[in-house]
């Protein structure tokens, strides 16, 4: 069972996402939430690194946090899956342990 990585800061704030992508392994999942959802945008500073990671890691983004920030589904990179809080709960069941990259 892969690890679930929680990332709640944007790449414009902290190094957390870059540091998480460096370590996440095959079969792991990453959930972008709170300010972390900005990293799901096609134009994020880490877009090319995200694209590389999408091949081996499942990247998800919390849809209510996207909507709150005015980010439309079309603005999200291909390969990133939008999920609800229920989806978040399910990810926490299908993956473990869970590491917050705060």
């Amino acid at each position: 069972m892969g690890v679930l990585h929680l990332v709640n800061r944007s790449p414009g704030e902290t190094q957390a996402l870059a540091q998480c992508l460096d370590r996440a392994g095959e079969g792991d999942a990453i959930l972008l939430m709170q300010s972390g959802v900005y990293a799901a945008m096609k134009h994020s500073a880490l877009a090319s690194r995200m694209e590389q990671s999408i091949r081996k890691v499942n990247i998800h983004v919390l849809a209510p946090d996207l909507a709150a920030r005015g980010i439309a589904a079309e603005e999200v990179m291909k390969g990133i899956e939008l999920i609800s809080y229920e989806g978040f709960v399910n990810l926490s069941i299908s993956h473990g342990p869970i590491l917050s990259w705060n």
Partner: protein, 130 residues
């Protein structure tokens, strides 16, 4: 599935408490169990009873208390984190001559052993906040 939740952030500094609350609600609705919500570090400030934000802002504190009332969720604040920050456990408050109850409804103050206990009983630990 059994979840243990740890909250490390003060209520007004980030979205962390909000996310933790929404996750907890969703998991309860789906029929899962929250073994305990444990407040640590700056998270201890969530237990302050007298938060009085402007009327148009819903204080998270009431929603934590609702979660405790409606679903019997155990809201535990770490005693050493709380006392360090100025929220006293009852007997200590009495000893210092305080008379008000400064702990919000539905919360209790207890030791780190309860955090370990939650980790041992739960299938997963989720940590929210810086």
């Amino acid at each position: 599935m059994k979840f243990a939740i740890q909250i490390n952030s003060a209520p007004w500094e980030s979205q962390a408490c909000e996310t933790a609350y929404q996750f907890s609600r969703a998991s309860l609705t789906m029929g899962h169990e929250i073994v305990r919500i444990f407040f640590y570090y700056e998270g201890a400030y969530n237990g302050l009873r007298w938060m009085s934000p402007p009327d148009d802002e819903n204080p998270l504190i009431r929603r934590w208390s609702e979660l405790a009332n409606e679903h019997g969720v155990d809201l535990t604040i770490c005693i050493s984190a709380a006392q360090r920050r100025g929220l006293l456990e009852q007997s200590e408050a009495k000893r210092l001559g305080k008379s008000d109850n400064d702990l919000a409804e539905g919360f209790r103050i207890a030791g780190l052993g309860l955090w370990v206990d939650a980790c041992l009983k739960a299938d997963r630990l989720l940590v929210f906040g810086a």
